[in-house]
Subunit: 371 residues, 2 copies
């Protein structure tokens, strides 16, 4: 596992050398390593929007995964993708007929990259069609939906993976390694500032019915998930404060800005920010008795940068989605266990915390958690 | 006012050039500017501990203020200071007899640098002796005490100034200038991480009776005060979460770690951390619609560093206490109005917020403020 990264590290290819652009790692010529001769995960993407396009582009550089099919409600988009990615007619579906993928032996997995509200029914249909499901985060609108999706995939004996791209990001993994090795000492504090100014007011992400909420569902989830993988514990309480300055853009049920705090069993605490209306964020910070880690940017698509008490983090710069899809192939085929899980249970935990945050913000009281 | 700094900026003496040490600015030879020929504030320091010593050392470089007297309960310390700072016997007092300073024409002001619990009675005695009072922060244990101190100084027609050294720090003042000029646009978010691991468990700062609390009274107050001068508004609500991991070191009533959040009339919010048990902190961050400011370190004694969306802040590196005392001389003699007030009312506001934070942490509910 992680053979490309391990190999690059071994031969001393530093982040700096690879930093020819944000896709530098993905574009590294194959002669740097042994050609991959294992099974290739053949993926269909469901939902051909902005992020779907980003994943498709990143997958060009994958060695273990390949884009082979599309599912979309827009015939013109399907045509366009067919040309661009050389996708045969027989691997193209729409939202009415994609259950027929059951009979398609050339597709192994379907990556669901549609509005949040659709994930639940679509993943269950993917499972029923006997295909592995990869689902964008948040995996569902709430914990009940998430549990049903997990159950459906179990019943169909297919894998359910959530698109947590940071779980494969080298700087992130290095900080987790250092924490596990005790290099920070006892963790006392974690901070995440996640947010940006949302653009187009008509996008589905600002539509409660499609998104299930606002910033928290889309970007706040990085703070939640990050707190868990950085601190290495599950939170036992949450408090939250919601602020809305623009109720035209951020309508009822669509959160603009939420500050939230998490408490962990060890006594560590986290201070997190989720916002669709604050610029210049994207920072993780963790402080232990013996050291610290600061990542800034921490979850953006571009290069992640970080430093610790030992100096600058110099891990390889990767295209997150390329590494994610290659690694997901090994999870699906080889039952590889990633350092940070990306299974349905992982997605469910984040949704339980999101529900607790929304509740805590509403009742203005601490909410205890047991996840 | 600010003639030295203005002059240095005019002639292009950059922070880098001045950065020969943390006292570089203070040590800048006098021939850089016109010699000061105004009145010099003659100061006695009450309380000859660690911070008193720091102030005394910094005052060596003052042009408008001079250390001329001491008040202490320890005769050996008085002797030591007399030698070190050339202080005449007639300007030395103890805690029993310092009211007699009333008859000493050679002392203009007394800087009270004693444990927090003593500030109230000592400042009132200073006022009754007809001397201007400079008082370390927090100015008192609570708002009632603070109001009584303000009243006593008003009645005696003496000034009451609080030792807010950051109010004179050039990087800080530049960020405030930029905010007032609209360079950040509408302020949306402020963050302050203030804290360190407290050392000696027997120090007065960890004694509820002397300190009136824990980290919040000592270091958390920087976050409160910083939020106010950075955002430029007074908070209208506060929420707070207290965490204690070491109840032997941090006894009943001595707060170890408190996270608190502030809401402002404009809709801006602040996320703050106050801790005596978390290392690697000392950061301010402010985000507006059009720009940001990050200061790290933000309130430490050493050089303040910062950057904004426009680049690195290159203000002069100063010894905070030197500039503070020179500026306080102009406030006392010339009725100079500093950019950020340091009067008793300013200290009272911080104490009202501290009381609200302690209450919010205790009842685990939002507390509204009207200060």
């Amino acid at each position: 596992m992680n053979s490309r990264r391990d190999f690059l590290q071994k031969i001393g290819v530093s982040a700096l050398m690879l930093q020819l652009g944000s896709v530098a790692f993905a574009d590294t010529p194959n002669h740097f390593e042994q050609p991959y001769d294992g099974k290739v995960l053949r993926v269909a993407i469901m939902g051909l929007g902005g992020y779907g396009t980003r994943v498709a582009e990143a997958m060009k550089a994958c060695t273990k995964a390949k884009l082979v099919g599309v599912i979309s409600g827009t015939p013109s988009k399907i045509k366009e993708w067919q040309t661009k990615y050389n996708i045969p007619e027989k691997n193209c579906y729409n939202y009415e007929n994609f259950d027929q993928v059951k009979n398609n032996k050339d597709i192994d997995a379907i990556y669901v990259i549609t509005p949040n509200a659709l994930h639940h029914s679509q993943v269950i249909r993917v499972a029923k069609a006997g295909k592995h499901a990869i689902c964008e985060k948040p995996m569902a609108l709430n914990a009940i939906e998430a549990q049903e999706m997990i159950d459906a995939c179990k019943k169909a004996n297919v894998k359910l993976l959530i698109g947590y791209r940071m779980h494969f990001e080298p700087h992130t993994l290095e900080v987790i390694r250092m924490r596990k090795a005790g290099e920070f000492g006892k963790i006392m504090f974690f901070q995440a500032q996640c947010g940006f100014k949302a653009g187009d007011p008509n996008q589905w992400r600002l539509n409660k019915a499609l998104a299930g909420g606002g910033a928290m569902m889309d970007i706040g989830i990085y703070a939640i998930n990050g707190a868990r993988y950085m601190v290495g514990e599950e939170p036992i309480w949450v408090t939250a404060q919601e602020t809305k300055t623009d109720s035209l853009k951020f309508k009822e049920g669509v959160d603009e800005t939420i500050q939230f705090q998490l408490g962990f069993p060890s006594g560590a605490v986290a201070s997190c920010l989720s916002s669709y209306n604050i610029n210049y964020l994207d920072r993780f910070f963790m402080s232990g008795n013996n050291g610290f880690a600061e990542m800034q940017p921490s979850t953006g698509y571009g290069p992640i940068k970080g430093r610790t008490h030992k100096g600058e983090l110099m891990q390889a710069i990767t295209t997150h989605q390329t590494v994610q899809m290659d690694e997901m192939a090994t999870i699906i085929f080889d039952d590889n266990k990633p350092i940070v899980p990306v299974n349905g249970e992982e997605g469910l935990k984040d949704l339980k915390i999101i529900e607790a945050i929304y509740l805590a913000a509403k009742i203005e009281k601490k909410v205890n958690l047991n996840i």
